[in-house]
């Protein structure tokens, strides 16, 4: 070992007046930051190991702890930020690609925060959701453009398969392997209770979770991990993952350490080997190839399940979505570049892709212009942080939203962005049994149910304020939005008027 | 309306009253007690002398209990005989009390073997009752030398109770070790060491040949002078009432697992009875507080039409001297496993996949009930991690399903 240029990013601040040396911090830190020092008869910390996950802070019974960002500073430099410098130190030491987790921490514009929602005044009165019915139920799937009658003149109500959602929110793909058994179970239990769906991600479906099948979307990704006929049959819908917002253009890499016996069985790969999802599907090089996969999956499940194609939000997303709509997909999921991940090269996470708001607006417009908007439903994800983001997404043309980071936060995630290290102190992004058990699905699922229930209440209130009593009537209703502080171009892409107009 | 009569204001009486009242709210309950006290626990008398409790705090249940239970206490009277034909009990004052169901819980009395010159000793005491303790307490004096005859539970608890208040204590016992009924030689030696460290002198394998007023000459020839003499040689169960009318007695009154004697409508409980010890599969006098309590409960339940059984009797004893705690249980038979350390003595006895006995002294007594339970419930040792539990009594050693049942189910 030679000289180490890296200094601790965080400092553990312990209020010694409050610390009762109960050692809960020591027992609960998988990063081994805290230690009891018998000579000093007090707790000591190794700041260099702290990832600021806040587990110790949360569990300390006397509130004796806080974690602060170090105020040790490099000489100020408008070009060379501390993070740029330390990244270089890190790479100079390791020679490797920098890895990161969760969504990008960089300051890119968040268009949700520049959009404001309308409310009725005087005419077209607002609706009180506590007194009047408010419909948040949504169906995802192809909608016929025309009404068909049978030979007796009765309307044919049979449609292509649809997903019925009690509220326009779903838990998006997080694979078993990247997240823990208990995190998966929490999502599955909550989706079932809520009448929505969770998504297996690309890691297959643990045999224990087949019971949640009616509320499960099973994913088929480039690695085809855990894909077999029972798996395809188990879910309510099948999602083909072409791309992910956090790492457009590349595949995935689940390190061998996370491939435990149960993960290996579920993924159908040897234990301890790295699970590498190729960047492309090696059988898809054109829209026609994608169409083949879509129909192969439909064929193998007797056309009973809608097929979703998920793509990352990238520059030419409108045209890509048009192609997907024409290749037989029932639902298109678009993942914005602020979306989360269990592990991604930091440069890609922080620099590739486009914001979901712009991608959504342009896809919705493109499909309408082409007259095929009814052929697919649109689901968007990638940092949907609140019910207001959901409302705005729907007003920009989405049928429903995917949430993942929000769901993990509800489970206890503190966004320390070290999922890739596998030692998640909250029992979420880890396969270490002692850590996994920290997430009791009874608690986890209750938190998720509470979160989505609360958002749904808020959605109803905002809809009521707009005088809208059905989420269907909000979809693509851009008149309900106004932009603030946006350029003409941004407003044009979003299809939204500026506030005051 | 049933008439329940209980001879002996004992712990068994108190628990029998409680059990009767669970089944029968109406019947009359009468308790006859020789001593002028409501049921109290006799082992407490040494703690009263030690200052850990007071005579006032000794009643097992406060006065309101008997009122609430509508039980009548006739204290200071002794039952002299039972008229089984008429179903009456005759008291020393000639009163005849009728019964439908009778419980005999007459306990035991001190046994004093004939010893030459004992009548010459003025200050001699038994150590069984509150009155014994009160009269001994009056004579305690920092200058007094005490001779205790008997190194059993009663004699040594008496030593603990009075040591700080007297000049010295000598203990004589015929047995080769102290606490012969609960300890083996090795364990007894360890406790004896400890007690000697506190200043008590032991004269074992010896007995008093003769007394004068203030001296005792032992068989070995040793002469001991004393001011106070405590006689704690042993006890004998009070079985006469039942024996006199033809009830089966084999050292103690013989009862079945309903606590019934051989005579119709007569039950017996406590130190006057024999119980079936499941660890040795033999009938024994198990003169121990918890057993009396449980027998009283079963007797009361059976007398009032219940179906409880007393079928898990074991010897189990907790006793301490000057902070050194001893817990023993079961029989010392089968294979011995010695797990003693410098801080504590621990010997476990196993037989046929069961824990059948234990002797724990010192720090090893903590959580001992986990072992007692293995003995009492005859839990197969193959159903748990015996190696682990032998080292340390923990629930962790049980199989998961047993742990879940113990900690997650209604008890």
């Amino acid at each position: 070992m030679s000289i180490n240029f890296l200094q601790p990013e965080y400092e553990v601040v312990r209020n010694m007046d409050r610390c009762i040396t109960c050692r809960v911090c020591e027992r609960q830190c998988a990063n081994e930051v805290h230690h009891y020092n018998a000579d000093l008869d007090r707790m000591v910390s190794d700041d260099s190991k702290c990832v600021d996950c806040q587990r110790c802070v949360t569990l300390c019974p006397t509130n004796a702890l806080k974690i602060v960002k170090t105020n040790n500073c490099f000489k100020e430099n408008a070009n060379w930020h501390t993070s740029d410098i330390t990244d270089i130190y890190r790479q100079a030491t390791t020679g490797g690609v920098l890895l990161g987790s969760m969504g990008t921490p960089k300051e890119y514009p968040v268009y949700w925060d520049k959009l404001l929602i309308n409310a009725s005044q005087v005419t077209n009165p607002s609706i009180d959701p506590l007194r009047e019915p408010m419909e948040t139920r949504t169906f995802l799937g192809k909608k016929d453009a025309t009404i068909h009658y049978d030979k007796d003149g009765n309307i044919i109500t049979k449609t292509t398969p649809q997903l019925e959602l009690s509220t326009p929110i779903m838990f998006s793909a997080m694979s078993y392997g990247s997240i823990s058994y208990n995190a998966h179970k929490s999502l599955a239990m909550a989706a079932t209770k809520l009448g929505i769906y969770y998504n297996t991600g690309e890691g297959g479906l643990h045999e224990d979770f087949y019971v949640y099948g009616p509320n499960t979307i099973v994913q088929v990704a480039s690695g085809r991990f855990g894909v077999h006929s029972d798996y395809l049959e188990a879910g309510a819908a099948i999602e083909i993952k072409m791309g992910q917002g956090a790492k457009p253009g590349i595949g995935g890499h689940l390190p061998g350490a996370k491939i435990t016996e149960a993960v290996s069985k579920t993924r159908m790969i040897p234990q301890g080997t790295d699970a590498i999802s190729p960047a492309p599907h090696h059988d898809i090089y054109s829209i026609e190839d994608l169409r083949q996969l879509v129909y192969m999956l439909k064929e193998s499940t007797n056309y009973k399940k809608p097929v979703i194609v998920k793509i990352a939000a990238v520059h030419n997303v409108g045209a890509i979505a048009s192609g997907i709509a024409r290749c037989g997909a029932d639902i298109i999921a678009i993942d914005g570049f602020r979306g989360g991940t269990g592990a991604a090269p930091a440069r890609i996470r922080d620099n590739v892709g486009i914001p979901i708001e712009l991608a959504l607006a342009s896809v919705d417009r493109r499909l309408r212009e082409e007259g095929i908007r009814n052929q697919v439903s649109l689901v968007v994800g990638g940092s949907i942080r609140s019910s207001a983001d959901v409302i705005k997404a729907i007003a920009l043309g989405a049928d429903a939203c995917y949430i993942a980071t929000s769901a993990l936060i509800a489970l206890g995630c503190h966004l320390c962005r070290t999922c890739h290290l596998g030692k998640c102190n909250w029992g979420i992004a880890t396969q270490v049994p002692e850590l996994v058990k920290r997430l009791n699905p009874a608690i986890g699922s209750e938190h998720l149910v509470n979160l989505v229930t609360a958002w749904t209440h808020e959605i109803k209130e905002m809809m009521g304020g707009m005088g809208i009593n059905s989420i269907e009537a909000l979809r693509g209703n851009r008149l309900m939005l106004r932009g603030v502080g946006l350029t003409e171009k941004e407003l044009e892409i979003l299809g939204v008027k500026h506030a005051g107009e | 309306m049933n008439k329940y009569l209980i001879i002996g204001a004992s712990i068994a009486a108190a628990s029998a009253i409680e059990a009767i009242r669970k089944n029968d709210k109406e019947g009359s309950i009468t308790v006859i007690g020789k001593e002028p006290y409501a049921p109290y626990c006799r082992p407490l008398i040494s703690y009263a002398l030690l200052g850990k409790t007071t005579f006032e705090k000794m009643p097992y249940r406060d006065a309101s209990f008997y009122k609430k239970m509508k039980a009548k206490l006739i204290l200071g009277k002794e039952a002299t005989s039972i008229d089984k034909a008429k179903k009456q009990v005759i008291l020393d004052d000639g009163t005849r009390l009728p019964y439908d169901k009778l419980l005999v819980s007459t306990g035991s009395r001190p046994f004093v073997p004939p010893m030459e010159g004992l009548d010459k000793v003025e200050k001699k005491f038994s150590f069984m009752t509150i009155d014994d303790a009160k009269s001994l307490e009056k004579e305690l004096d920092p200058e007094a030398k005490v001779l205790v005859v008997g190194a059993g539970l009663i004699g040594l608890k008496c030593c603990e109770g009075i040591l700080a208040k007297v000049k010295s204590i000598d203990v004589v016992d015929l047995a080769p070790r102290i606490l012969p009924s609960i300890l083996d030689d090795k364990a007894a030696a360890r406790v004896q060491d400890y007690l000697e460290g506190k200043g008590i002198r032991f004269f074992l394998k010896d007995s008093v040949a003769s007394f004068t007023k203030k001296t005792a000459t032992l068989k070995s020839g040793t002469k001991l002078t004393f001011d106070l003499l405590v006689l704690a040689v042993g006890v004998r169960p009070n079985t006469a009432l039942v024996a006199d009318i033809g009830g089966t007695v084999n050292r103690g009154i013989v009862t079945d697992d309903c606590c019934k004697t051989s005579i119709e409508d007569i039950y017996a409980a406590g130190d006057c009875t024999t119980s079936h010890d499941i660890t040795s599969d033999s009938d024994k006098i198990l003169a121990l507080f918890p057993n009396a309590n449980m027998q009283g409960e079963v007797a009361g339940n059976q007398m009032s039409g219940g179906t409880l059984r007393y079928d898990h009797a074991i010897a189990a004893n907790a006793i301490g001297f000057f902070g050194l705690h001893i817990i023993t249980a079961g029989s010392y038979i089968g294979d011995q496993l010695d797990l003693s350390t410098k801080d504590g003595y621990k010997v476990l006895f196993t037989k046929d996949d069961h824990l059948v006995g234990m002797i724990l002294i010192g720090d090893t007594v903590l959580r001992a009930g986990i072992y007692t339970n293995l003995i009492r419930k005859q839990i197969p040792l193959s159903s748990l991690d015996f190696e682990q539990i032998a080292q340390q009594p923990r629930l962790m050693a049980f199989a998961k399903k047993d742990r879940v049942s113990m900690l997650g189910e209604k008890r």
Binding site: C22 | C41, M294, H325, A368, R411
Partner: protein
């Protein structure tokens, strides 16, 4: 009757239950004041294993053998809760001999036994259950 139940699958051996128990029974209204620089004597104790951990405290048995064994009458059942009258306890250890769960513990400082009496401070669940971060200790009717 509501009792404390343990779900070993969720116990993290964080030992918070022990500290909250000690605090609850300290009579003080501030945990730091109650526990700083003290060796705690909780009435609930965590058994730690290789992979399994769980907290053990009085089960409040319906037919408690400790109460039947107590020679001083210090242990009694009040509305289903097994209580200890510390003024009557003589520290004879008979309850330690009897309890199948090993939950009665001597408190050397006081020279008497101590046990869980299902504290319900401020009308909450017992603190061990109320403050278990992972619902490994549950206070409910079963």
């Amino acid at each position: 009757m509501k009792r404390v139940y343990v779900e070993e699958d969720w116990c993290l051996a964080c030992h918070l239950c022990e500290y909250w128990c000690a605090f609850s029974n300290s009579g003080k209204d501030n945990m730091v004041a109650a526990l700083k620089n003290k060796t705690i004597k909780p009435m609930i104790q965590v058994e730690e294993g290789d992979k399994i951990n769980f907290a053990v405290s009085c089960r409040h048995c319906e037919d408690p053998i400790c109460v039947k064994s107590c020679i001083s009458g210090a242990l009694s059942i009040e509305d289903g809760v097994i209580k200890i009258d510390k003024s009557k306890c003589v520290d004879c250890y008979t309850c330690i001999m009897a309890c199948p769960y090993g939950v009665l513990m001597p408190n050397e400082d006081e020279g008497i036994m101590q046990k869980c009496e299902l504290c319900t401070p401020r009308g909450t669940a017992p603190y061990c259950a109320a403050h278990c971060p992972n619902q490994a200790i549950i206070y409910e009717e079963r």
